[in-house]
Symmetry: C2
Subunit: 305 residues, 2 copies
């Protein structure tokens, strides 16, 4: 067991309140005054979540976007954010503040508060708490997928992977791929439109395959994914091809921040999305490629360990 | 201007929503579904907020307590917390988790979520978001003090200072002084009892004098403080004496987490507290010692700079 998994187990032993959802969901849900409050806190660290060469404005953007993405997965409207910030180089700080202002204006989300500590030469980490209010109840969870449901995903997968690879290798990626990695778009409106219709929903942060497996586990169902259906952008295909390996990588790298959901086959999709699989009886996920079973890759996505 | 004050100015330029209270209050207040939600996020850093030799369980306790203290200053009942944690040495992490469990059980507050990042040898910083619901509205703020009001404080001042000094010097302090520094007590029940009665309220985190000045500024009033009235514990007097310098230090060191409030002179104090001063017309704070005016010390408390 790794340091992180041990710590998360200790936290789960403490987080026994139902609102915490066993620390196994995208966000906590607490009931107050006839509303369902949605709360999430995600951190990012230099060298792990961003390259040392990254534009600090992009770091701020992504920090807000990944937290708003968790709210989107609950169909919530954002109410505000609180920032936990490590001070350091003043140019870096100023540029971060610019990006923070941009992303909050873009999504109309107020900065409510926060705190700073001095960094003193260490690698930085930044954290953000986002709070939202559910627009539909019951609030979607990862449980609830039913045999017969379709598995669907919004947008394209793998663009962030392609953008990251090119940036890290010193290339200047196509703008859409760079943006997918640096400035992901939280699917807030999609989340609101989907919440009343889905049986399960989450955002794809760690990789489609591992996230689909989480829905399967939480729902007590099996999920079959058709690799040929994984939605890939033209830019992605141009840069990385669309063979089986490329598709598997797009399905297991993460950082996509698309919404992954299950929905009854009888309901018309309320947002633009791609049907990529089907829910069945059983457990775990399985892969099909052009109708034939395909073994699962050794890694389904980013594991917290 | 320091790095921190520049950054906070940039944040204030972004945080224009009234709920943020100009980032000049203990917590943000947002209205939702007939309730007033109270939100705060405070961080602690190794070498700044805790000694390297500190028991990690005490660090966890204090991190929760200082955030709950901000909720107490708003008369709020805590609804839950989210943790932002830097992983490191696994013994440290385990001991931190134990302290976290203890303090959350002590105050009946659920852990709702959070995130971890790996530390990789750097000095650690930890952050916590606390959310609460107001038990009385309008929610107390730092503004609202009226000429003629009394200035009061709960509990004793300076015990955390005395505990810190002795621990840092390698002594074993009296248990109450060590506890005041390591395991401060958020005055949650006092805050609830005071909220309907006070004209202004905050918690004393940076020092009585600087915090009283903040109330004076926010309220547009003058506040006169009688140094002889500063409440000092028997342990404090035994360790540090009670002469003028000792009293001034107790009034400007901070880390007390007592509630400082103004209240009409016509109202009986609803909690145990000491009357230490009086609100008048004008601006700023002034000091009296045994009836005679005393110049303000060069530092009124901990400045965020």
């Amino acid at each position: 067991m790794t340091t992180e998994s041990v710590f998360i187990q200790m936290m789960r032993a403490i987080a026994t309140d139902p609102a915490a959802r066993g620390l196994r969901d995208d966000a906590a849900v607490i009931e107050l005054g006839g509303e369902s409050l949605i709360l999430t806190h995600d951190m990012m660290a230099e060298g792990v979540h961003w390259l040392q060469s990254a534009d600090p404005a992009d770091v701020a953007w992504k920090l807000v976007a990944v937290n708003l993405s968790d709210l989107a997965a609950k169909g919530a409207r954002p109410l505000g954010v609180l920032l936990g910030f490590m001070l350091g180089d003043s140019d870096w700080d100023r540029r971060f503040a610019e990006g923070l202002g941009q992303v909050l204006r873009q999504y109309g989300v107020p900065l409510l508060g926060g705190d700073t500590v001095s960094n003193r030469g260490d690698k930085r980490a930044v954290g953000l708490t986002a709070i939202g209010a559910a627009t539909f109840r019951p609030v979607p969870s990862r449980g609830g997928a039913q045999p017969g449901d379709l598995l669907c995903v919004t947008g394209m997968l793998g663009d962030a992977l392609a953008g990251f690879e090119l940036i890290e290798a010193g290339f200047d990626p196509p703008p859409a791929l760079a943006a997918a990695y640096n400035r992901p778009v939280p699917r807030i409106d999609d989340g609101k439109a989907l919440a009343p219709n889905v049986t399960a929903m989450m955002d794809v942060s760690d990789g489609l395959l591992i996230d689909a497996e989480r829905i399967a586990t939480a729902s007590g169902v099996a999920i079959e994914i058709d690799l040929a259906k994984i939605p890939l952008s033209d830019d992605y295909r141009a840069c990385r091809g669309e063979n089986r390996d490329s598709r598997l990588q797009a399905a297991s790298w993460g950082d996509d921040y698309q919404l992954l959901f299950t929905i009854s086959a009888d309901i018309a999709l309320p947002v633009a999305a791609t049907i990529i699989g089907r829910v069945g009886e059983g457990s775990g996920i399985s892969l099909l490629d052009a109708g034939a079973a395909l073994p699962l890759p050794p890694s389904l996505g980013y594991q917290h360990h």
